[in-house]
Amino acid sequence: MFQPRAALSRRRLLAAAAALGLAPAPPALGEAPLRTRARIVIIGAGAAGLAAASRLAQRLDGAEITLIDRRREHLYQPGLTLVAAGLKDAGYVTSATRDHVASRVMLIEQAAAEIDPVGRSVTTEAGGRVSYDYLVVATGLQLDYAAIEGMDVARIGRDGLGSVYAGAEQAAATWRAMSDFADRGGTALFLRPATEMKCAGAPLKYAFLTDDVLRRRGTRGRAELVYNAHNRALFSVPIVAEKLRMLYADRGIRVNHDHVLRAIDPGRRIATFRTPQGDQELGYDFINVVPPMRAPAVVRNSPLAWRSGPFAADGWAEVDRFTLRHARFPEVFCVGDVAGVPKGKTAASVKWQVPVAVDHLVATIQGRESPARYNGYTSCPMITRIGRAMLVEFDYDDNLVPSFPGVIAPLEELWITWIIKEIGLKPTYLAMLRGRA
């Protein structure tokens, strides 16, 4: 893909920022704030919502910016894998939401219950109605554990049941279960759902990490690792999928294709997968459950959801993939996990999406057109063992878009990529929340 020379040089400057695939954002600093009395409501105080709030607060003077989210604890989700690998404790990924809310932004600590894009208002769970001129939907997504028959989130950490995504404590509990398994050996199952999902590399990484922990403890010979892909590929980007196929073969991780987890019996340690040949039961000693993911009900049941096509079933928001502007309600932007776009459910995507959406929103207030476009960029530091990772970056068209072409090879297991993941990613993420990266 063609990239302007200036963009490449900027990327090279931003070494730490490369962890998130941070190309420079549309201008915000050094630009005089726009005076406006616009009422802007942001639903969701996750990575996308907080970053949007910070950037809007920087670029607008006099706007009434309201952030709606019940969660008082913010979760640094890219760190969950490190917690589940025993490298960080649960506190590494948690912080107070309020600590990240920009000044001049009002936080309503309630869940949004209903969105009325026709009447331009949001109703909170307590029945309060908040009107808006512009709406940014950043609700994140819903982990649908209930869709897996027999799944009990409360049992994560016991009976060989792990699930990295469920939260900080559950990630720590998953580490305990994985560690117990690594002491004894047996069969470990890894999988991903057939739905869209956040950070599709995470389940793959966790299989690599489990393999590494087993090898370090000298029990790899007593263990069988099986990755259950939901389709015929390990990854949506063909060139990455092929590299992963080779690495899994090298590590001795067996792959089942077209296997989707349907049910689990934690007591008997049996997982049932839906396959083209019918249901198949697989026994396990350890399993990392990744649940189906869908848009939260407040979006799924609203007029904002896709009505047809691949994103309709799970209710993802219908946005233009290049501007993140809603297809039918032009004063609505949807960013982060909830956006119904082909790729982009990662913090790296948020980093690229938010400045684009914010620029379009500000341009609309100004009565001008914004040239900013989101090209589907996302990034996955694919950990292949403790101490090494591959910096995989790609766009909507499955092109590799390395931040450091010729320097950091995207499909090479490198220590420098691990360093970026370990110490560069979180500071960049936090700077992003503050609208400074």
Partner: protein
């Protein structure tokens, strides 16, 4: 855009290092400044002090690399491609040069209240004879 990029990097390093970012930044500015002052004061490099500073620098380089491995739960066995070795060398060099400069300046400043360390040059027997004295100390 350049200004923006620099401030972006500053923001990231602030988040990474917390309060320590400012002492480190101060060191990066003050250490070369201190080195210049000490060199001017001494009117040159004091060889013995430089040797001690270089030895300290070697230690500093090793500590920097070791600390990076420790902080990132990794080990030398994780070095993969050439860029990894380059990074390790850069970390070693940064730690080594920083420690050497810091050490040299510190030793220079500690020695500063006294008269500048004189350069002891043996002018040889012929020189002593020419000067008409047993020992020669040239400033």
């Amino acid at each position: 855009m350049k200004d923006l990029e620099i401030w972006t990097l500053v923001a990231v390093f602030q988040e990474m290092l917390g309060w320590a970012v400012w002492p480190i930044a101060a060191f990066c500015v003050l250490a070369p400044l201190g080195l210049a002052i000490v060199l001017l004061h001494d009117r040159g490099i004091v060889a013995g002090r430089m040797l001690r500073a270089e030895l300290l620098g070697l230690l500093g380089g090793v500590v920097a690399v070791t600390a990076m491995f420790a902080v990132t739960s990794s080990s030398p066995a994780d070095l993969g491609g050439p860029i990894d070795w380059l990074l390790a060398i850069v970390i070693f060099a940064a730690g080594g040069i920083g420690t050497a400069i810091g050490g040299y300046v510190a030793m220079g400043l500690l020695a500063a209240p006294r008269a500048p360390a004189p350069a002891h040059i043996d002018v040889g027997r012929a020189g002593r004879a020419a000067l008409g004295q047993g020992e020669a100390t040239l400033p």
